[in-house]
Each structure stands twice: as C-alpha cells, then as structure tokens.
C-alpha cells in the first residue's frame, strides 16, 4: 500500500467534486457572453452596475414566478422586480435617488444587441418595462442630463 501524498489526496478531492457537482452546462458560454459584453461596455465608456442582491419569491399560481434583483453603482441604487408569466415578463424598476432618465432594455446575444423596450423614469424614480421577451437582457440607464454618464446593469437572464 503506497502512502498517498498531499497532491494525490487533493487530486481525489478535485475528482470527487468534478463528478458530483459538475459545472452547469452552458455556464462557460454564459460567462463568455457576459465578459465580452462587459468588455464592450467598458469600450463604450458605460459604467457597469454591480449586482448586490437577488431574492426569489415563492412561485405563484399557473407557473408565474417573481424575483428581485438589486444593482448598485456609486450612489445610484436600482431595484428590479421581475415577474415572469408564460413566455413574457414584466419588470418594475425603482431608481434611488430618483433622477430623470431613460431606461433601455437591451437584448443581448452573442451576435449583438437590440433595444427591446424603452421607458422613461418618472419623478418617483419608478418605471415599468412590460411584455419583455425572455432571455438575456441588460438595462441601460441614460440620464437626460447628457453631461452625466450612462450606466448599465450586467446582463441577466430572465
């Protein structure tokens, strides 16, 4: 019986976890898309918000689900409640502190991006994006004051 070295043991640990908790399918693809998108945002001088919270609400009747995401950039806080019913979704957003902005929901895919829905942010800081298709999405927030930088969320999956 040969004594297992530290490296042999760590190899066992690696193998066990690779088998029993494998990297999800498509994870690499999704991360490549997110990283490439972020790199192009940096090139466009868009400031990227950070996802700081995600919560899931209990699934409702008829397969409807809802969850919240919270993004932060500097002093700007963006809370999203995403409700999915069937193959469309609705996003209720709230920007704190409120500022006059236009919100673009951009569909992202490896082949490019297209504007899906546009909405104005009211004085309350609230906005609604209805009838959004499912898939990878990014929100771009453009202040009406052109002197201020546009900020964007990372891509997220609805």
């Amino acid at each position: 019986m040969s004594e297992m070295s530290r490296e042999d043991l760590l190899d066992v640990v690696r193998r066990v976890w690779e088998e029993r908790d494998p990297v999800p399918e498509q994870l690499v693809d999704r991360m490549q898309a997110a990283a490439a998108l972020a790199a192009s945002d940096v090139d466009l001088e868009l400031e990227l918000m950070e996802l700081v919270e995600r919560s899931t609400e209990l699934a409702g009747a008829r397969g409807a689900t809802a969850y919240t995401l919270r993004f932060v950039y500097g002093e700007t806080d963006l809370l999203l409640r995403i409700a999915v019913e069937g193959d469309v979704s609705r996003v209720d957003g709230w920007i704190v502190p409120p500022q006059p902005m236009t919100v673009h929901a951009v569909r992202t895919s490896p082949t490019g991006r297209e504007d899906a829905v546009v909405s104005d942010v009211g004085d309350s800081g609230r906005f609604v994006l209805a009838d959004l298709p499912l898939g990878q999405l990014q929100l771009k927030l453009e202040p009406r004051d052109r002197a201020r930088t546009a900020i964007a969320t990372p891509a997220f999956e609805i």
Binding site: W17, E19, R20
Partner: protein
C-alpha cells in the same frame, strides 16, 4: 511573461509541510500559467483571449464558490461578478501571472459575502449537492468503477464540513491567500496550515480504511 515561481505549491511558506511532502510537479497544463498567458494576450488587444481565459477559469471559480454551499443561481451570480470585476479592473492586474489568484480570491470573497447575507433559516438545497451517480450498467467493469467512485465520495463526505470546504478551495486554487481564507472560515491564520494537514490526514485514513489505497 512566464510565471514568477515554479507551479508547485511552496511548502516553505506554510511552515507545516510534513517532511518529504511532494512539491507538485510542474504540469504542462498548469491552468495558472495558461491563465497568465491568456490574460497577457487579452491585454495586448486580442479579444478572443478573454474567451479562452473564461473557458479555462470558470470551472475553477465554480468549485471555489460552491465550496461555500451557495445555491446554483447565487453561485453563478458570484462567478459572473468575478468576471465583470476582472473586465472592469483589468488595469489593476500588473502581472499576468497574478490573474488566477486574483480571480479566485475575488470569487471567494464575494461567495463569502453572499453566504453570510443569505438567510440562515433558508436551507441550502441539499439535493443540489446530492450524489448524482450515472445510471449503472450491468457491465462488471462499470460496477467496479462505480464502487471505487462511491468509496471516494464517501470518504470526502465523511469529512467535517469545514474540512470539506477548506480542501475543496485548496484543491482548486493554486495558492489560496491564507489570510483571506482564514477570515472567511473564521479561523486564525496560523491554524489554516495545520487544519489543512489534519483534514488531509482524515481523508487519508478514510481512504485507507475503505481500501481505496
């Protein structure tokens, strides 16, 4: 630019390496050296190199983050946040050889933050980590392979949770930052090395008892 130091784990820095502990041989496929090479190419303006870096390091980040028992969607968020942080702060990484350690440290810190903020009352999906053995076939070799795998899984399972987490992080990262790891695990920094030694010893005993080596 090459790696600054040999790819093997430096045993001296921990001061607790058992005599004769093997230094990991330089592997041609050392992911850290490959990551450094990808990062250098990306910094030189090759956008495809970012894809290569993501392909190479995403599996490592997944295992590091899941060691904190985050649910799959939260774990994926953490892995993505680590990539976005790299893209945003690429200028902060002066030495390409540091990119692997930078990524895993970033992922571990974020995983710890999310782990700490998750409602403790919400149990982590245990079924998420439940054994998922491939369907058994009748071939005898399959049965033997299945049995051997079972033994390894059981040995890892029998470790205390803290050992499981520590060894998983250490196994997938080239050189974890011990100070940060200690704070993540709520342990004094000086006890990481000895704890790792004890965890490995437990695993060795479990494997010997099971006749796996």
């Amino acid at each position: 630019m090459g790696v600054r130091e040999p790819a093997g784990r430096a045993v001296g820095s921990e001061g607790v390496a058992p005599p004769g502990a093997a230094v990991r041989p330089q592997r041609v496929d050392d992911p850290w050296a490959q990551a450094a090479e990808c990062f250098a190419r990306w910094s030189d303006g090759d956008p495809g190199a970012l894809d290569d870096l993501v392909r190479l390091m995403t599996p490592v980040l997944w295992h590091v983050v899941r060691a904190y028992r985050l649910p799959a969607d939260a774990a994926e968020d953490v892995v993505q946040a680590s990539w976005l942080a790299l893209v945003r702060r690429r200028d902060a990484i002066r030495d390409p050889a540091a990119v692997g350690g930078w990524l895993t440290t970033t992922a571990r810190r974020e995983a710890w933050r999310v782990h700490a903020s998750l409602d403790r009352a919400t149990p982590v999906e245990e079924q998420d980590l439940a054994p998922r053995l491939p369907r058994q076939t009748s071939a005898e070799t399959e049965v033997v392979a299945h049995e051997q795998r079972r033994v390894l899984w059981d040995a890892v399972d029998a470790l205390p949770p803290r050992c499981q987490r520590l060894l998983r992080v250490v196994a997938f990262t080239n050189r974890p930052d011990y100070a940060q790891l200690a704070s993540d695990l709520g342990m004094p920094v000086g006890s990481i090395g000895p704890t790792r030694g004890r965890c490995l010893a437990k695993l060795r005993v479990a494997l010997i008892e099971a006749g796996a080596c």
